[in-house]
Subunit: 512 residues, 2 copies
């Protein structure tokens, strides 16, 4: 017997209505010398089955996990899912076949592909009482893998908080698996967008010797074989995990003009919030021959709108995947998400204000008693998360770009405006999340860049290669970074960033 | 004046044939308060221009870097490139405009879009002697960024070895920039393949607490803020950079059935070869409901053939990009690459042998005096790189899968065959490279997996979550990993893995 752990494998033959020993199927036959006869490449998955439904009343074999079983007197219903689509397959079977089946078990089932009369779904898999399967298949339901009595994912509502305590099992739930499919779809949509715009996707390094943002909170890395000899360094010098790939992207931008990446970045941030991770994926883009920050705000708006358009495209299942899995939990939530997507496309151009205007709005709102902030909005001080969320969520009720922040709030590489007080940068703020995208025009003039680095007392040695770009055919350029997980949270109405990445990493959290 | 470093910006007006001060173009206008008037989103790039050529004899403005200038008595030729396509734009200009232009400089040029009489290219940009440009543009050539006298990338042959010494500039060369475009195209092609097959692209973690392969050679990571206090651990335990995402992919496979990733992996390998990196990108896929290693060999063959088919697709520029950039250097090389691609598709199914058969072939070849190996091929010992390369390159002259290696050569998670001596695994060997893909059916039976871990004296604590997958609806499954850079080397006929990744990392190498 090949399948099933713990010897709890039972098989049923509907026509004989009795337990029979398991006989292996040819497709899944035993592997001895595995280079034996060729087999069917991959067994059909539910995603394929729903996309290209078989002939009605034809025999169909599927595999998946049981999401729920309801046994009535004369009939039993079972939902199975294999995670390749948001749709469960409803199986209508004789009750005696279902009595031992449990939620969470993996099974193989063979039956007739029928139109469903229930209305909720178009098709169902039916095992009639007198179902005769072909000689090749002796049984119509086979348990592949069992579950323990206390299997945690019973058919009932689970809080995300509880699910985070079982990180190796939680993706089996419909809501969370739909988020992983959503993540994959959004990435594909971004790839299409950047390809269409002649961008090259590239992979800057994760191991670096420099601290791009100068913000500290780095992870240091070293080979375990040098652990006992701290003077030996694997790379010949101290090495860190990157916090942003921007400086390296600029190198590639000076060769390819339009580059982007979707790359892991790392921050050793001690604080634990629902929008920070120690390991996250960042989309960064760098564009040559631009010199106006409005080109960047507009471009990043186009990028996000492109993704939203893909999600709303009724000819694909991509948006439905997320919405339908929510509808199962709460209809209002599903409606809200679709409304948000429609709203994001409804405005021709999202709002854009300067930092100075933003401070004015915030101060006036506080003076008028409209809102009370914990941190007083002051020109020269950072916009706090509460300010960002209020601006986008309450004042503009829409994504809004804030441009031209004071020099001292931003890193050394940003282009200083003619006022000598602000830099040509922007943050795109969105309701609920706050900062989603941040970018700037970069200083491409050697002299000005060097001056600013000197003024900031920066160690220049590690960045000689970066500075040298400015003497070898330098061109005006700019770019931006967007936290990929934040985009997913925003577009998917997902509260906690830990639920949009398979294995979230943060201080004290390294469970599996 | 906005553009240009070092104040070396000169501008020419062809009609007046004299230097004039630079007047900024509206599109690239000065940024003061950058939230001013909206501007053209992104300036046109060469990729767009060649894909959708403008009307003949219309005025066209482009920006890019000078690849070469040839000044003759009555005419000058200049090639410019912006890296968005393999094609240079040839500019035909009055010699007096070209006399001060240098290879490597970034320029903006305006002229007439004309059919080219040269034959090598279809179009060219022409500045006739009497060219009158519109009022808006006072000048037809503008130097944006200059280069020093010793600019290293003069128009001549550079060895890759030399280019690796200027890691921040080398991607400006045609051959290397074509490799980055190639990399991007191949990734897009893989995404299309996996989407079509209902796989979900996902991102397993890079920071882990376990050593998946048990092979050592790990990088350890720690927050810099804990440097002085080694008992404090950011994650509460020792943490490492992943060497393979497989174990985590298996978690997701048990929820989504078909998952894949293209993810950075890390190995602190001290040895420096032309096919190893400390930081590399690995494609890994994990598939539920399969139990025959031949499903995996066949599937990975389909995957690679899909990419090759994309490269050979004449309706796109994707394959041409690489081939044409090589042709510039050596016609034979370009022909060889195309021949290889055609060859890879010519066989219906690539060869597949067992490890035992492979050892027989190697031993017989040595006994017959056909080949002499440094390492004697022996059953039970690893296949050495020389064996792999000879099998694929000399004996089969084609990619070949070797399956069913001895248990002791492979990790704990592989399914043990009925012979109890071998495991259901495979390596796909290819000419020149050796191992390109490696995979296996995984042991999905709790009891057998635990037994094997005990037999190997493995610490089980860190992998409880992995083992627990086997008691919660376990299903037969398998997967494989493929070094993304190795695939690029193989398909692109590129000798050194350092030339297919933007910033290669290996022992003692962390230049920029």
């Amino acid at each position: 017997m090949i399948f099933g752990s713990k010897g709890l494998v039972f098989l049923f033959n509907a026509s004989k209505k009795q337990r029979v020993p398991f006989v292996s199927l040819r497709v899944l036959s035993s592997v001895s010398g595995s280079s034996s006869s060729a087999t069917v490449l991959l067994p059909q998955c539910l995603g394929e089955l729903f996309a290209r439904p078989p002939r009605l009343n034809s025999d169909v074999t599927v595999q998946g996990w049981i999401k729920a079983v309801r046994v009535q007197k004369n009939i039993a219903f079972m939902d199975i899912s294999d995670g390749t689509t948001y749709q469960n397959l409803m199986c209508v079977i004789p009750p005696e076949l279902a009595s031992n089946l449990k939620t969470g078990e993996s099974i193989q089932i063979r039956g007739l592909w029928c139109e469903s009369k229930g209305g909720k779904q178009k098709y169902e898999l039916k095992i009639p009482k007198d179902y005769k399967i072909s000689d090749e298949f002796d049984n119509c339901i086979k348990v592949i893998g069992t579950v323990p009595e206390n299997y945690p994912l019973q058919k009932k509502f689970h809080t995300q908080q509880f699910l985070r305590t079982i990180p190796h099992l939680r993706w089996k739930t419909n809501v969370l698996s739909s988020i992983l499919r959503f993540r994959s779809h959004v990435e594909t949509s971004l790839i299409a967008f950047f390809n269409e715009k002649n961008f090259i996707k590239t992979n800057p390094p994760l191991i670096t010797s420099s601290d791009c943002e100068g913000a500290g909170e780095l992870f240091k890395i070293e080979s375990t074989s040098n652990e006992k000899n701290p003077t030996e360094k694997f790379f010949g010098k101290d090495s860190y995990l990157t916090v942003s790939t921007q400086l390296h992207l600029e190198v590639l931008c000076m060769a390819l003009s339009r580059v982007w990446t979707l790359s892991p970045c790392f921050r050793a941030e001690e604080s634990s919030t629902n929008r920070h991770l120690s390991e996250f994926w960042m989309l960064e883009a760098e564009i040559a021959f631009i010199n106006d920050v409005r080109q960047l705000t507009k471009f990043s708006e186009l990028m996000i709108k492109h993704v939203v358009r893909t999600l709303l495209d009724d000819s694909s299942e991509i948006g439905k995947n997320l919405i339908e899995s929510r509808r199962g939990r709460a209809v209002e939530e599903a409606i809200k998400i679709r409304e948000k997507w429609n709203f994001l496309l409804s405005k021709d151009e999202w709002d854009c204000i300067t930092y100075t205007e933003a401070i004015d709005i915030l101060q006036k709102a506080e003076a008028d008693g409209i809102v009370k902030f914990k941190f007083k909005p002051t020109w020269g001080a950072s916009l706090q998360s509460e300010h960002e969320k209020w601006l986008a969520g309450e004042y503009f009720k829409s994504p809004v770009s804030v441009t031209d922040y004071p020099i001292e709030l931003k890193p050394f590489y940003m282009k200083i405006n003619n006022d000598k007080k602000t830099v040509a940068c922007f943050d795109l703020l969105v309701p609920e999340i706050g900062e989603l995208v941040g970018g700037s025009i970069r200083e491409h003039d050697l002299f000005k860049l060097s001056n600013e680095m000197t003024r900031r007392n920066m160690k220049v040695d590690d960045l000689n290669w970066y500075i040298d770009l400015r003497s070898n055919g330098s061109v005006p350029h700019g770019g931006f970074g967007m936290g990929f997980e934040r985009l997913l949270c925003y577009l998917g109405n997902i509260e906690n960033i830990r639920d949009v990445i398979p294995f979230p990493r943060s201080a004290e959290t390294l469970d599996c």
